[in-house]
């Protein structure tokens, strides 16, 4: 079945389009954050929105992350659907009380009477030479808190479909976009679509080993899988898309089929997403495993500035190939 070739959009444009479509549909949506209006954010993701929707709906805020996040929580509780733009994921530490003590718990603490339908968009990802306070991937922190949902799109296609679902969701959703992927293009349909939160995607089918890869680690997994294919190794790639809710079944089904798995995520390896997914696999698919569950995360170091050092801290296709081969040989797989 061959239709006309699908258009390609950058991840940045896909996010912009998702917000614009939703704002046209639902007047209760507002967007707030630092330099989101005329400046369109430093990454220019939001360019053009204030021209269409006006400064009443695209609100430039002072540099007060806890303040505008808290205001978004209150607006969400009273009938709006705010989208908060948090310029860097590292600033999550500034908004933790509003996000984790207020937004995450309001529905539960009120016995289901109040809810907080808000989206917090932020970013992640190292190797942009931005050093330790503008490079962290902190999604595990919020995934730990019941009441928040956490999405990690791995392409322009996913960024648009997941964001549209997040905006329509009744709960607070935190979306992590990899800031190095804003200019990456992918096919994105012209017609409207939504991607459900909590449904993983099998990006590549394989027989010999499963890679569970979040966000831009998809690219690492795909590059590794292509090289392994040259040696006759067939790797399957699972993209969870959201880590809360986590589509355990798709992951477990893949592991039961291949018997080997490496989980790849750009958060620090210790106490993070790789640990959680690995533990669930060990608990629920242990007797299907032919090798220990492997995992690769960012090194447990603050992200260094020097390119010579920074590039050592994140998973790479080369190291993933090595680990995959070790797993296939029956050797234990150690992390970063």
């Amino acid at each position: 079945m061959r239709g006309p070739p699908m258009r390609e959009l950058t991840l940045s444009k896909a996010v912009n389009e998702a917000i614009a479509e939703e704002m046209r549909r639902d007047p209760s949506i507002i967007l707030m954050g630092e330099d989101v209006a005329e400046a369109g954010t430093p990454f220019k993701v939001l360019s053009g929105l204030v021209e269409e929707f006006g400064p009443e709906r695209i609100l430039d805020t002072p540099i007060s992350e806890p303040g505008f996040t808290g205001i978004a929580v209150g607006a969400a509780m009273t009938g709006m659907r705010p989208i908060v733009d948090l310029m860097f994921g590292d600033f999550l530490f500034l908004v933790m009380d509003q996000l984790c003590n207020q937004a995450a718990k309001t529905h539960y603490m009120s016995g289901g009477k109040l809810s907080v339908p808000m989206v917090l968009r932020t970013n992640m990802g190292a190797t942009r030479r931005s050093a330790a306070q503008h490079s962290q991937s902190l999604h595990a922190l919020v995934a730990h808190i019941p009441g928040l949902k956490v999405a990690m799109p791995s392409s322009a296609y996913e960024a648009k479909g997941l964001l549209k679902s997040a905006i329509r969701d009744a709960d607070p959703v935190v979306i992590f976009e990899d800031k190095l992927m804003y200019q990456d293009k992918a096919p994105v349909p012209e017609e409207e679509y939504l991607l459900p939160l909590g449904k993983a995607e099998i990006l590549r089918e394989g027989r010999d080993i499963s890679f569970v890869a979040t966000s831009s680690m998809r690219q690492v997994a795909e590059a590794a899988a292509a090289r392994l294919a040259e040696d006759g190794v067939s790797a399957e790639i699972i993209d969870p898309r959201t880590i809360v809710p986590l589509d355990e079944e798709t992951i477990l089904a893949s592991v039961r089929k291949t018997g080997r798995v490496i989980v790849i995520d750009e958060g620090h390896q210790s106490f993070g997403v790789t640990a959680e997914i690995a533990a669930r696999i060990a608990e629920k698919a242990f007797y299907h495993l032919d090798a220990p569950v492997g995992r690769m995360g960012a090194m447990d170091v603050p992200i260094p500035f020097s390119p010579a050092l920074e590039d050592l801290t994140v998973p790479t296709p080369e190291r993933l190939v090595e680990r995959a081969m070790a797993s296939l040989r029956g050797e234990p797989v150690h992390g970063a």
Partner: protein
């Protein structure tokens, strides 16, 4: 006695309004007396913070509001909850963790919320609801509802940065928010002058916010100021900042019994005997011939009987079933 409605103002037309102020304050006192007794007799789980002594603040302000107006409350929040229209039965059930509580027992004393009456909830983080109240103001402005949001907080919250971030935005955006600072002279176990440098009102004045200071033991003075500020906030003249000078009769929490190291018994006695908001208002009602002393006694007795009946009801009421522990985490679909 410093009650400030002019003699003769108390005509028949206003009699019902005055009696309602008296009833509401008496309800708060009766609620707190029973809550304290529940704690002291070991029948209430956890702990709680008594509002006794501050009744004129919550009642004077909330009587100037409509049901649709929003408030946010604090860890010392029973008074605000009663004043905004909550019922004893659901409140005592909540304090005892029972299924019929306003939050199905999941919030308790420090998180009690009553959405139907516009109470967006008490908050156990000092100053933690400043963003929520301001967000409610943003919703009101954006939707043009004419609603007003009142943010109740204590003098202790003046130490929190969030408050200054959101007051700045409320001023920039002319939001219909009234920041009601209940200065009961102590933040936990420390005098306000040891924690807050400079004038309390100067903080808000720096943002260009109109500030007021009022005797928080004089329900008529509080109510008159609140009526005026609420009306002006509805017309878009907000935000406002009010310091209400008041006093809490109990310790920081119910277990704070031996407190002479930070607050003398003589000082407590002076406030209770000379400045009690209910006693003084009752004397004024009698002097103005709005009610006889016997009639006021009758009101008090009826309210105390109602409170005791609600306590008995709540003590006998069922706890939530175990299946509720994992309910209300997310508003949308349930998941593990």
């Amino acid at each position: 006695m410093t009650l400030t409605d002019a003699p003769g103002a108390a005509n028949a037309k206003n009699a019902e309004r005055y009696l309602r102020l008296y009833r509401q304050m008496t309800k708060i006192r009766a609620f707190e007396d029973n809550a304290n007794a529940l704690y002291l007799s070991g029948k209430m789980p956890g702990l709680t913070h008594m509002y006794s002594g501050q009744e004129a603040v919550a009642v004077g302000i909330c009587e100037a509001l409509e049901t649709r107006d929003k408030i946010t409350s604090t860890h010392r929040g029973h008074g605000h909850c009663v004043a905004k229209g909550a019922a004893f039965k659901e409140m005592f059930c909540e304090l005892l963790g029972k299924a019929e509580g306003y939050c199905r027992g999941k919030g308790g004393s420090m998180h009690i919320a009553d959405q139907a009456n516009g109470n967006l909830g008490a908050n156990a983080i000092v100053g933690g609801s400043a963003g929520i109240a301001t967000g409610a103001g943003l919703t009101a402005k954006r939707l043009g509802t004419g609603d007003v949001a009142v943010c109740f907080f204590g003098d202790g919250a003046l130490g929190q940065g969030l408050l200054y971030e959101v007051m700045n935005m409320a001023a920039l955006w002319s939001l219909p928010v009234i920041y009601a600072c209940e200065n009961n002279l102590y933040g936990e176990y420390t005098k306000v002058e040891e924690m807050a440098a400079g004038a309390l009102t100067a903080r808000a004045a720096a943002f260009g916010i109109e500030t007021h200071t009022v005797d928080g033991q004089d329900v008529l003075a509080v109510n008159r100021l609140a009526e005026s500020l609420v009306a002006r906030a509805r017309r878009g003249e907000g935000p406002f900042f009010v310091v209400l000078e008041t006093y809490r009769y109990h310790g920081h929490h119910v277990g704070d019994i031996n407190r002479e190291y930070y607050r003398s018994k003589a000082e407590e006695a002076e406030w209770k005997s000379g400045r009690d908001p209910i006693t003084n208002f009752g004397k004024w009602l009698v002097a103005e011939k709005i009610a006889t002393a016997e009639e006021l006694d009758g009101i008090g007795e009826a309210i105390r009987a109602e409170a005791e009946a609600a306590v008995e009801y709540a003590l006998a009421a069922p706890y939530p079933g175990a299946e509720e522990v994992a309910m209300h985490i997310y508003a949308g679909s349930a998941h593990a």
